[in-house]
Each structure stands twice: as structure tokens, then as C-alpha cells.
Symmetry: D2
Subunit: 504 residues, 4 copies
């Protein structure tokens, strides 16, 4: 493939990759291992928001009852939720609030979801539910101040269109929950932004239309729309793991376009923000696909296009402290995280790290690449970034060759290249080589981290007639990042290269 | 080349690579940058002793004079030397003391050496010199306790056989200095170990014989012998740098053998420890050779043989905080350090890091390799280490192929390989690609550190008839480290490899 | 009171205060807040062992079942327990193992204890229980090596003499559990030490005698004896808290003496180690007593005497990450910890910190004090430590005056004093002054830490006729630590004191 | 004394205490100990600018000469100055540039100042001096960007009105230096701010008037005025130390008022910023006064008034890494720093720490106190800060009693008080008690840090008729900080105080 890039051809590209990331249930944010993983992610990638389930689950423990003088009373315990949000803020993250699931003492039924038994039934008393929402949001304003809390979007519940997450997937009951919750939030402060319906891709068109009709007709507050999307076909469950075929690259963008169009078809909601509050390749936390280079290359493509329709898309999830299907037996277990327990980056970690470096000022976009430029902070030079990817799900492992011609001012350029592919940065394979140890000792952990680092190289290129010519070759399931920087002449302190072994 | 390794063939190999390392003058140990470099070296390599010049130089400031009632009086200021040694001890290092140079107020002349102007003349008053030695060593015992100070060897002066380091290279005067110093040390505590003559390779045979005759005839205390060695031919000085040809690989081992034999020829000194208190390829701190992969491969060979004759060999120096020829203009300046200012590891850093991992229990040694084994700390498994190198000074850049056959118990083995060569880990070249910036900004520094990391790979090997067969290919000036670990069967939690892209 | 201390009068005193400390259930060791609290405790106090409940509880998740081909199978998941013990070891702690409680899938009944619902029924299948113990201990040896695991004592269950902790407090059933467990441990490695019966002070004499008869008659392995003790009278529960009167100071020592005598009455067990695997003033995690200065002074007395009969006494618990009665609403909640959530030291923290500094070489012991000496590490000087306490439970708040005369060599002494009492180091009161905020912001937390620091003072004393005279005055519920160090003459660099305001 | 404070009575007070701080010569910023001291100062106090001597001194090494083809050439070495400024910026500090002293190779004479021998003669070649200034400032813009460097004020030389700092204190020669330097700076970028004449209080009125006449008449760039001030009378030098009497409290404010009036008398310069680029009590780095509580209380007064006339006042110096009179023999040596080597805060450290907390919104100011208020960041509550001081230089040590009545809304208030006086926070005295050890071991250092901490207490006060009444009692040479915060009602989770020993 051949790409001629003119600087006037500004490419369409919105880089919202860092706007939000997913997490296992809120209570896990109290874990030491969770904190270490999130610290690394924030130091090296730097997301803005984080979203997960279980705010009102009993292990966070906000909703408490006790008996006094024979009467059942309600009180609120904010000890843990304060620890959790304090920690997020200290890491430069804000919460993207999900109002759910149901405290047992407020539930109308006993249906639960997940190993950790989140209750997914409607409240037994909607007034008490509203009180709970009001008390919690009011507490946050008291603790963090109005300005801070106004920047936290609040989403009502999770995937109510699935029976597993909402008793009977009862649409009317969800609309009731939504209305009560949204009005409760606005009662605390009408400027707080609230949204839904947090659906996944099952009957999603019907749900989305109905939801927007409901809110628009009833004047129910709605500040943004949320949905989820995953890109795999049905799973084979073989002993402990789920194996699935990836959907085609266009699957998710197409689905999102449909949602976008539905939203825009409501005059009141035209152009309203759509947040993808969960997405990934597979929806199973036991699919080894998540740990592969293929996953990294596939996600790279998605990150290059999802900003076309959405205001954020929250990768599900940042790390592997996660218990929906129980406790993982091994560091590589097909879980969702960008990194494993022990903080070994998976290949997809680098997809995010690469997209975190390139900004949003694109000069070229293609099916396999994005090129952006940024201005130097201290002089007038331009820096180019190229990210390219080559997802290959199958046996055909031919290389992808890309030839870039980028308009650039004449002179010398320094190119810093980082490559992640199945040969040079494939910690899953290295762990298997190691014998798949279920718990790593210090040395094994250290070695696997070494195996999870991109291969680096540098080179010099001359631009003579205004075009920087660069050839990139990608193996199957490779992603790469090239940074191209103009070299400024330096004081004369250079070595005589031919007298120094290996210096050129 | 082909190596059949039988476990019964225990190879001769003493790995004293970590016993000692060199440093720029003592005062530099007060620097923040110095501390950071040394911290990294100690965290990742872990030397035992450190030796440098300038203990009694005026910038450390121990020897002070003042006037009171018209009389000139002496007092001692241990503020800085205490800071320095406290810092060494906190980093797990002990000082290998060098008694020198001369405080200006105690000097008999004005000759100095280096940009920092170390006075290299004899004391104007040998009694005051002895007092200074006694006061300093006594202070150390008071501060650190006898047990600690008894483990610090004390060497008298530096390279007195060179005029530049000792006025007129006056041998008799040095012997006098040696005797006074050694007796002063022993007066504080006769168990403290003292040695010399700290000569370099100029008239070294004559000096060494004469010195040993002097000490043996006059019953002057001597607990160990010290000397230096460098391996380059005369320099071309072209603007700011020195270019030299490397001596042959056998140059240093041959020279040390001669010294060893001289020592052993004195019945009283047969088998006495010989410490190489300085060595390197070039003796110039402006020779870019130090920053190359060639240097790393050449030093690897030396580390495999120097333990045959010596008790320690102190690489001159651990880091690039160094001022003998003034302040370096650039991060790569041909200085001696294992790492640059900013803590970018040079290739030779990895030579030391590799030798720090392999222990001393060799099963095979050759001109281009060493193989050792260690026992697992928690079970009976053996771990093999292979370090190999291929120094090539010249245009002929053919690869070196090594074929190892190591006796091993049958089963599966995991191999973790690290490679440093001119293509994959050559930060000098990357810095030149970058335009040779004299001061690095944060991003440049971070990228050069990424460029200074070994390439990593892993593999699985089966041993079926008691022989582990391993082929290693080394480019010119490569060094590598292979760690070979038996894989123990793990619980059945494995993936189905053919269902997971890139997992094998 | 007046104490003349002769150096020849060596006092009886075994300082085992640091041998062990208690913790909330094992799973809590995965928490970030727990790690931070324990890190601080280990940095500043430094316990050797840690013991808590819940090793086999489902949240640690070791015992797992799954169905394959229609058959229910057992597998073990060591992910979390490895994280927990790795963390302990990294903090310099070893686990004092408690084998319990029962995984739900292996339980014979549904009775649970605590908010976190530990199952306290016997195993439905003793063979599977033995398999679980064997698999776990074997895994530890594989992971940490035999030498390490041999240093971990293993105790069977917790307080089986209480119905709440063991169904029906069924003694014969416990003896069965003990025997199966002890034999399982010994099957892995006969050198691992195992003990029980982990009883508290209810029918303890009967239980202890019966247990020792059972083990001795049936030749059941027993390497040490364990029990618990608490020192408060029945509780008034007023809304959320328990209020209790403290028992007399002699209550616990008397009770332990009885147990000691019972053990020693069995010839086979005479002198056998007795470990107090839990103790504190109150057994309620909602008694504000734990947060007071009274608690600190009372515990100080206990630490001065418990070593007379016991090999360890594990303060229940090191920190306030604890959920037996649910999640605390406030930082001061009467919980057991030496420090609060947020790591504010409670007064009792300082009791331990003081005992951690004094060693075990006593020269005087009284009802309100202990004096020890230690030898300087670098010279021959002696350092004296005085810890004194004045627990007062009631309205009479008269001061305690102590006059010490300690034999010491003549000269000048420097005294460094630290004082903790209700006026100078009472963070509970400061928190109440602050308005009892349920969650602290950063500034509040920082200020409360400042309020939780001992008052410091220094002085100089001269010893002229061989006696160091020292007067100590303690307010109600004070504890203090005095360190007394000989001043050695220093070089003449002193100020003229009368020319410097406030210098004497 | 009695202070009724009405909220409408806004007091005059400009708190510029944190705008700038002094430092030992630039080269010392390369030291590890320096970095640690400055890190602590910045973490806990947080200055904005830092100013010190020696930018162009040979140990920073910017100006370099070498011979090539028989010609002497100039080159610039920015290695060390980049390290220094990088470190400042990383600590949140900007440099307040002082252009001086003279590189030896550019000097016209040999006169030097200080132990470190700063050359204080005019340049031998003013054009080369201008080149040096231009090259250095241009390099900074290239490295840090224009925006950053525009915020760095540039002052020309140091105290040219003293012969010791400027050969012959030659005023005309200084004006020449000033003009050449100022024009050189402006040539790089006319927006960079430049100032002088950096005089101390010797013939300062004459110098200041002449300087302003010179610049105004000749249209020489001048963006701000700088001077120094110290407040002690002539010194007695007794052995190693200087003893001096403090000037009266009004000495410095009066002197500054005179300068202010001179500046304002020039129409072109009316209201121009005056920066006190050095001030302290004594100008001697060997006056123990700096280490006393008297110094802290005296400086507190100065900080309350200096903002009346000046835009910044740079305490000379932040720390004790300092070599003007050589290397200190002891941790307390009368040096200028806010903290000692080893980072023990001196009492004056707390003066700055207290002023760093109070903001600038004063409600009352008196000779011995300042009261400010700040608004809570998360609600509408007001927080009051009181800082009070009681400097007493002499034998009369009567207490100072202050009675504050502050208008406040009714309710409960929490008061957090910190006190520093000769009894509770006097590390100099504690060090003398210890025997004045010249180098501290770890325990001594830790104990002295404990001795250098304010005494803390808390209390509750009720405001009932709109007045908060507070009595403050200060011993001689005390300073205190009170923070007064409204208590908001909290959820009912309180203890029954009478059941909890010591809780009220």
C-alpha cells in the first residue's frame, strides 16, 4: 500500500481513546494489586474517566439498615466509596458513575449476577432508592465540592436489555428506574449530567428508540446516551476457557453508526454525546484472545474509527483484578485487562500507550494506519506520529507493507520506532514457554515484563525534495509507533564515526 | 564452534567481577546525579567495593588549618567524608580506600594532576601525614565500629610510577610514603589490611619487584598487592576525542600473569591477593570506544579470565560523573562509565549485569563463552547460564556461531535470552541518529533508555537423551545471556494453543 | 515510688512483644489500605509473625469445585493466598497459620460467624479436608521452599470452645478435626510445627486439660499450645458501640499462669511453648476503649509480664481494616487496630513502638516500669531504656511519680524522652474536637497524624557518684520512653552558650 | 494585648514570603544533600523562585576555551547549568537569575571572594561577556521555550557596592557592566525582565539614586530594582563563630521604606517592583543566631511587614549546603539555612511553613500577630489563621499574652494549634544536650528531627454572640499557628464521652 500525505489534507480523526476505561466492580478498587495496576496505567497512558459496576452493591456497603426501638432504620456508610473515589482522584481519574446494582436490603427479588452476586432486581421501594441516590450524590458534593462532582457523568444501571443484568429485561421497569434515578440526581443539582440506557447489542435498536421516545415524551432528564459493544461470535466453552471468532473489522463501527443515526433522528437529541461505556473484542473474561497480539491490532483499528461517532469508548477493562467468573487461576487467563495481575502489559496495553502519544491532529488515516502531527512545545518544529496495525485472524500470515510519503520540510529526521508483534512482544507465548506457572515468582515476573516490551529501533532519514519517504513492514498482528522528529544542527562535538565501531 | 559440556568437567572460573568498581574522585560522591547512577548500578548489578581518588584532596576538606594566638593549628573536618561513606554503605558498598592525594597545606610542592588539580607531591611533613591517616582511620572506627572498618582495604596512593601522579615518579620517596602510611594504619589497628604499590603498566615489573623487596626486607606491613591495567595503543587526539586501537585479547591476562608470578616468587607473598584497582580498555576519558558494543564484548572476555590471577578487578568507572579532563559536553563523550549522565546504560553495563547473574560454578569456559549452573533456591532443579561474546575490532563483521551440548536431565526447558549488539542495543548510535543533542530533554532521555535495553526472546526446548542442544549466533560485538530453566509440570489450566493466535 | 537499680540485679523480663500480631481475615490482606497500614507498622515496629482467620474461607478461594463429564471435581486456586503471603514476606513477616474456616462446598452445615460469614461447621468429608490441608502446605513448600515453610507454625481452627466459632462447641468433633489436620500437616513434612487448641477464656481449664489428655494419650502430634485472652467485663451495647469495664491488671497474667501450670503438669509437655494467638483489653471491635490512652497504658503493663509465661502474645489486631461487625463508619470506631484507617497511630501503637526499642536485657522491672540496657553497636557504652506507664480506669487522675536511681559510670548523659498521654497525644479526642468527621479529607488526616505523635524533650544529666538520678511524672494513662545515652567528649567546636538565646 | 477583629476591617498585608528564597552558589545544586533539603522545603513550604551566586563561576563551567590551530577559541558547556535548572523546575522552582561572577578566562584581575574563590573583577573583554550572556540566555530559550524563560527575572551581579564583591566597588564600572548585560539580555528577547543594582546596605542611598539616574538618563533597560538587607550589629569573632546583637525590629522595614521612596521619586520608576534578593538577621554564615528560636520569631515579624514595600524578599538561604566560609564542621554551625545538613528543620523553617499556610487575605495585623481568613474549597465556610510571635533578645523572658476576639458566625469551632518555642521545638539545644556530635548517626538524626517538630494541640470553642474569643500565651521567642475551622454537624455515630476515658 502506498500513502502520499499532503499536509493540507487534514484527515478526519477524533482521538477519544483516553476518555474512559472500564474496571471490575467498584469494591475491587480497594485492592492493593488493583491500585498498582491502575497507577501504572495512569502513569504511562493516562485515562480521564473510569467506569465499573457495583457502586451500590453490598460490599461497598453504602446502604445500611439497623434496628432501633423496634424500628428498622436506614443509614449510609461512605467509608469505602470515599476510599475508592479518593484513590481515583489521586490517580488523575474521575468516576463515570454507574448507578447500580441493588443493595440486598432494598431489593425486590433475589436474582443475582456474577460470582460476586450483584442483585439485579428493581428496588422494593423506589422512594428509598431515590433517597439512596440523593444521599450519595449529596455526600459527594459535600466531600469533593460542586465543581468536581459536576464533571462526573451518571449513568443509570447496566445492560437492562439483558435478563442476566435486569430481572426479565423488563423495559418499562427500567424506564421507571431511569426516571426516578435521573430526577433524584437532578434534585441534588440540576447541572449534574445523567444518561442511559447502557444497553448492549441485543435488540439494541428497539431499546434505544423506545428509550429516547420515553425520555423525550415525558420530559425525563437525559444529557447523554450510553451503550456497549463487543465484536465476537458465539463461544465454544472448552474446559475453563471460551474460544470465539472475531467479527469483521467493520462490525462495531457499523453498529455504532446505526445508534448514532437513531439518536440524531430525535430533533431534541441530534448531536447528543454517545458514550460507549463498555467495549472490547470478546465479552468473556475467559477468552485468551484478550491476551494476544491479534487483540492489540484489532483494537488499534477500532481506536482509529470510534471517535467518528462517539464521545468516549471505554475499554473493558484496564486491568485483570476482576472476579465476574471467579478468581483467575493464572496470570494469563483470557481476562479483559490491558495488563495482568503482576502488571505485565498485554499487547493491547501498547495499542493504548501508542494512541496516548499521538494527539488528535491527523494528516492521514487509512484502514491500517493513522498519521498525526504535533508541534514541538519549545520551537516551531513539527513532530509526526505514525501508528499502523495488521490484524490477521487466521492462518494467512503474510506481511503488510506500507509506503508513506509525508510532506515535510527539508532536512535530517530522527525516527524512533517501537514494534509489538508475535515475535518480539508476546508475553502470553513467553509465559507458555515458561510452563504456564499459575503464580509467578519474582524472577519469572521480571522476565515476563521484559518480554512485554516493544522492540525499539532508531534511524536517520534525509528529506530533500519535501517528501519524507518511509517504508513500514508489519508481520501478522503487529502494531507499531513511529515518531519522526526534525534534527536540529548541534554544536560541533561529534565523533569521527569511522573511528568508532558501530556508531553508524 | 562446538561445545560439548559434561557436568563432571568443572571448568576453571572465578567470577570476581562484582568485587570492586572504580569511581571519579571521592568528592563527586556528594553529587545527586552520581547517587542516582550508583543507586541504579547497585540495584541491578551490585558491586561490593568502590575505589576512587581524592580522599585527602581539599574539596573533601578533611585537613584544615587555622590560626589561634598566632599559631598555625591543624584540625580535621569529617563532614563530607562521612556523607560520602554513609552513602556508600547505604547502597551496599564498602570503600576500598586509596590514601591520597596531598592536601595543599601539607604538600611539599605545587604539581597537580587533572582538571580538579589533585596535588601529587610528597608531604612537607611526614609526621603530619601520619597524623592525618591516623585521625581519619580512628574517626572511622569511632563512627562505623571496628568490625566494619576492618573490612576496608587501604591502598597507598595511585600510580606512583607515573610522573603525572607522583612528583618525578620517585620510587624511594614512594616507598617512604608507603611505609609511613602503612605503619600509621597499623597503629590504629593492626588488623586493618594495607597494600600497594598501585602501579600501572609502565616499568611495572621493575617497580613491583623493588616494592616487594623493600617491604619484605624492611618488614613493612603488606597485606595485598595492587596494580592497574589498560588495553589500548597510543592515542590520536582529534579535536576533543582520543582514538586508539585496542590491544589483543591476551594483552591484559598476559600482563597480569607476569605480576602474579613476581608476587609468587617472594616466599612471604606467595598466593597473596592481587587487586587490580583500575582496569578498562582505554585509559582516556575521552575515547568513544567506552561507549561502544565492542567495548562490552571485549570486557566480557576479560571478566571470564581475570579471576584466574586476581582477587578483584575494578572497572574504571561505574558512571560518567567524572571530571579528570573537565566537564563533558555531551551525554556520550567517551568517558569510562558503565552508564552515562542521565543513567543510560552503555553496552558494557550489560556485560556486568550478565556476569552478576551467573554465579561462579562453571561447567564450561571457552574463548567466547562461559557456562555456569546454579541450584534453584526452592527445589533441586539446576539452572544453566550461558554468557557469550564476540568482540570484533575492524571491518570483518562475520557472525560467530556457537553450538552448545550441555548434559541435562530429560524434560522440557525454558530459555530466556537477552542480546546486546550493534543493531538492537546501541544507544551511542541512537544518540547520533537523534542529532547528538548535548543535553537531553526528558523524552530524548526516555527514548535513549529504551534504546539501551537488551532484545529479549524466549523459547522451549526438549531434552530427550540427556543433552540440551543450543545454537547461538552472535553478530560482531554482540554479547548475550541465556538462562535455561527446567519446566515443571503445572496444573492443567492451559489454553488450547491452536485456538489462540500467536500462542506458540 | 522509688527505684534503686543495681546493675547486678538482673531483672526477669522476656520481651516477646514483637513475636506476633493479629490481623483481620486473610482476604483483607489484599487491600491497599491494609498494605499501607502494615507497611508503616513493620517499618516502625517490626513484628515477626502475623495471624488471622479465614485462610480457607471462600473469599480467599483456595477450594474450588467444577463439573466435568457430569462429575464434581475439586481443584485448588492459590492466586490470592500467594498474593497475601508474598506481601507478608515482602514486609518482613511470616504467617502464623490458622487452619480454618470451612469452604462452603466442603461444609457440613450452614452456621456462619461474622459479617463476612465464615462457615464454622465441621467438614462434610474429613478426607477432603485433609487433602485441602496437604495441597495447601505442599504448594507452599513448592513456592517458598522447605526451609521457609518449616518456620511457619500451624494452628488448628479458632476458639472451638465457643459455639459461635464451632458448631455446638463440640469438643470431640474439634479433637477429630485437630487430629486429622495435624496428621495431614505432618504427612507433608514431619518437621512442620502444629498446635492448638486455640481456645479463649471460657471453660478454658477443662478444654485445655482434655485436649492435652487427648493428644498425649493418642500420640497426636502437638508442638505448641495456643490460647486467647481478653480483659474486660460484660458489655453495655448503646447504639453502635460496646462499653465495658476493664478487668484488674492481674487478670490476664493470672489466667495465663493457670494455663502454663496445666501444660507443665503433663510430663511430655513440660515447658512446651504457649502462644497467645489473640489478646487485647476488649474482645469487641466496637469498644472505644481500644482508641484511648488508657488502653495504651494497660497494654504496656501486660507487655512487661506476659513473657513470663508465653512464647508470643499476638495483639488483636495491627490495624483497623477489619470487618467482623461490618464496615466501620468512622476512622475512630473502637476497632482493635494499633492504627486507624488512614494510618493514624492510636496511643497503643506507641506502647508497641516503645517496647520495640528496648530489647530484653532488663535491669529493673516494677508494676509501672521496665528498665533495660543495650550495648552500643560501635563502642563499649551502655544505653539505658526506661518505659513507664500509669493506667487509670476511673475518676482518680492523680499523677504517678517515679524516682529512678540507676548505677552508671560517671559522666554526662543525654536523655531523649517521649511521652504519650491524654493531653499531648490523644488523637481520639482531637478527632472529636474536629467534629467526628466520618471520612477525613487530606488536611484533617494530616492534622490528626500530627496529634498522634509523642511529645518530645531532651535534657542533660551528670552522674557523679555512680548513680543516675531521674524523676519521672506520669499523668493518668500516660506511657513514656526515656533513652539515656552517655555523652562522649567531642572536638572543640562548641558555641558560647551565653551568647546564643535559648541554647541551654 | 487585646485584639477585636471585625471582618470588615480588612488589614493591610501582602504575603510574598514564598516568592523567592536564597541558595548557596549554583554549583551546589548538583549535590545530593542539597536536592534532598530543597525537596523537603518545596514539599512543605513551596517557594516560587530561587536565587544564588556563581552562574558563571568556573565550577559550573559554562565558559570554556580551547586552542585549535594555534588560536584560542571559546565554547560553551551547558551540561551542569542544565542539570541545575532542570532540577529546580522539577521541584516547582524557577531561577531568579544572577549574572555573575567572572570566569577566570574572561577576568581582568585575580581578586576572588569566598572559600570557593569567585572572581569579582570586571571582564577583560565586554564583548565576550555580552556573548556569554547572549549564548546562555539563548540556550535557555532553545531548551525551555520562550514562555518559560520570560518568567525568569535577571539581575546583574551581586553587591557591587562592596569591595569584596566588585573590585574597588567601582560604581562606574558596575554601571558599564549593568548596561552591557541588560542590553545583551534584551537582544535575545526584549521581553525578558532585567534589573539591579543588587546592593546591600552600605552607602545604599547614594548607590541607588546614582544607579536610577544612570539608567533613566541613558535609557538603559530596567524592569525592577534589587537590594539586600541584614539586621545585625558588628560581630565578635570568637574562635570559629560570629556573635552579633540583633538590630531593632524596625531596622529593616525603615531601610526598605527609604529605598522604596527613592524609586518612587523617579517618575519613570514610580511603583516599580523592588525585590530583596537577600535578607536575613545576620549576614554571617557562622552566627549561631540563625539556628535559634529568636531568629524564627524575629523573621516572623519581618514577613508580616516586608510585603508593604517589596515584591519579594529572599531569605538567605533555604538550606545549609553552603561553602562561603568553607565546609561546616557540625550540623548546627550558625549557617543561614532553614534546615541543617541532614534536613533537621530549624525554628525559622516553621516561620516559613506557617506563613505558607495562611494566604494573604488578612483581617487583622499587629506587631505580634497576623490573622487571615480563607474560604473552604468545598463549601462556604471560612477558615481563620492566626500566626503570632514574640522575639526577645535579652534576659527579660516574660510571656506575651494576646486576647483575640474575632467576628465569626455562631457555632462550634475546631482549633488546631502548633507551637514552636525554646522548650518544645529547639533542636539546637537538643543537639547540645546530645554532646554536639559533629556528624550524626541515623538515630541521632532521627531524634533531632523529632525534637524539631512543633508541639500540637487541639480544642473546641463555641461562638455564641458572633465573637470567637481566643487567648494565646507565648513564651519568649515563641511563634505559633492556629487554624480555626467551623465544625459542621456530622451523622450521629458519636461515642458517649463519659464512658470513654480521656475523650474530652
Amino acid at each position: 500500500m502506498d500513502f502520499k500525505v499532503k499536509r493540507t489534507d487534514k484527515a478526519v480523526f477524533s482521538n477519544y481513546a483516553l476518555n474512559c476505561v472500564g474496571t471490575g466492580r467498584m469494591h475491587l478498587a480497594l485492592r492493593h494489586e488493583y491500585h498498582k495496576q491502575l497507577q501504572k496505567v495512569q502513569d504511562e497512558i493516562g485515562f480521564k474517566y473510569i467506569r465499573g459496576h457495583g457502586l451500590f452493591h453490598d460490599d461497598v456497603g453504602i446502604y445500611q439498615t439497623y434496628e432501633e426501638d423496634g424500628v428498622q432504620k436506614v443509614e449510609y456508610n461512605f467509608t469505602y466509596v470515599d476510599m475508592i473515589i479518593d484513590d481515583y482522584l489521586s490517580l488523575g481519574l474521575k468516576p463515570f458513575i454507574e448507578l447500580g446494582f441493588m443493595p440486598k436490603a432494598l431489593a425486590s427479588g433475589e436474582q443475582t449476577v456474577f460470582y460476586w452476586e450483584g442483585n439485579v432486581t428493581p428496588p422494593s421501594d423506589y422512594e428509598k432508592w431515590a433517597d439512596l441516590v440523593i444521599a450519595t450524590v449529596s455526600h459527594w458534593i459535600e466531600r469533593y465540592g460542586e465543581e468536581e462532582v459536576l464533571s462526573w457523568p451518571m449513568e443509570v444501571w447496566n445492560e437492562p436489555n439483558l435478563e442476566v443484568f435486569w430481572e426479565n429485561a423488563d423495559m418499562d421497569e427500567y424506564f421507571k428506574l431511569y426516571e426516578v434515578s435521573a430526577r433524584a440526581v437532578k434534585k441534588v443539582n440540576p447541572k449534574i449530567r445523567v444518561g442511559g440506557p447502557s444497553i448492549c447489542g441485543v435488540e439494541d435498536e428497539h431499546w434505544l428508540k423506545s428509550f429516547l421516545e420515553f425520555t423525550s415524551k415525558n420530559d425525563v432528564p437525559l444529557d447523554f446516551v450510553t451503550r456497549h459493544c463487543y465484536a465476537t461470535e458465539p463461544a465454544d466453552y472448552i474446559p475453563h476457557y471460551a474460544y470465539q471468532k472475531l467479527s469483521s473489522l467493520s462490525y462495531i463501527p457499523d453498529e455504532l453508526r446505526v445508534s448514532r443515526d437513531i439518536i440524531d433522528s430525535f430533533p431534541a437529541y441530534r448531536g447528543m454525546e454517545m458514550h460507549i461505556t463498555e467495549f472490547n473484542t470478546s465479552y468473556s473474561p475467559r477468552n485468551p484472545l484478550h491476551d494476544t497480539n491479534l487483540n492489540a491490532a484489532y483494537i488499534a483499528y477500532l481506536l482509529s474509527v470510534m471517535g467518528d461517532t462517539c464521545a468516549s469508548y471505554s475499554y473493558w477493562t484496564f486491568g485483570d483484578v476482576f472476579e465476574e467468573q471467579g478468581i483467575a487461576f493464572t496470570p494469563f487467563s483470557g481476562c479483559f485487562g490491558l495488563l495482568t495481575n503482576g502488571s505485565i502489559p498485554k499487547p493491547t496495553y501498547w495499542t493504548y500507550e501508542f494512541f496516548s502519544k499521538i494527539g488528535t491532529d491527523a494528516v492521514s488515516r487509512g484502514k491500517s494506519h493513522i498519521i498525526t502531527k504535533e508541534k514541538s512545545k519549545i520551537n516551531d518544529d513539527e513532530i509526526f506520529h505514525i501508528v499502523a496495525w495488521n490484524p490477521v485472524d487466521g492462518e494467512d500470515k503474510t506481511c503488510l507493507k506500507l509506503n508513506f510519503s509525508i510532506e515535510a520540510t527539508d532536512g535530517e529526521y530522527y525516527i524512533f520506532s517501537r514494534l509489538v508483534d508475535e515475535d518480539v512482544c508476546n508475553p502470553l507465548k513467553s509465559w507458555i514457554d515458561m510452563g504456564s506457572p499459575p503464580t509467578l515468582n519474582k524472577k519469572q515476573l521480571s522476565q515476563l515484563k521484559d518480554c512485554a516490551t516493544p522492540a525499539i529501533s532508531t534511524q536517520r532519514l534525509s528529506v530533500e525534495a519535501g517528501l519524507l519517504e518511509l517504508d513500514v513492514k508489519l508481520n501478522a498482528n503487529a502494531i507499531c509507533h513511529y515518531e519522526v522528529v526534525k534534527v536540529n544542527p548541534q554544536v560541533d562535538r561529534g565523533f569521527i564515526a569511522e573511528r568508532v565501531q558501530g556508531s553508524r
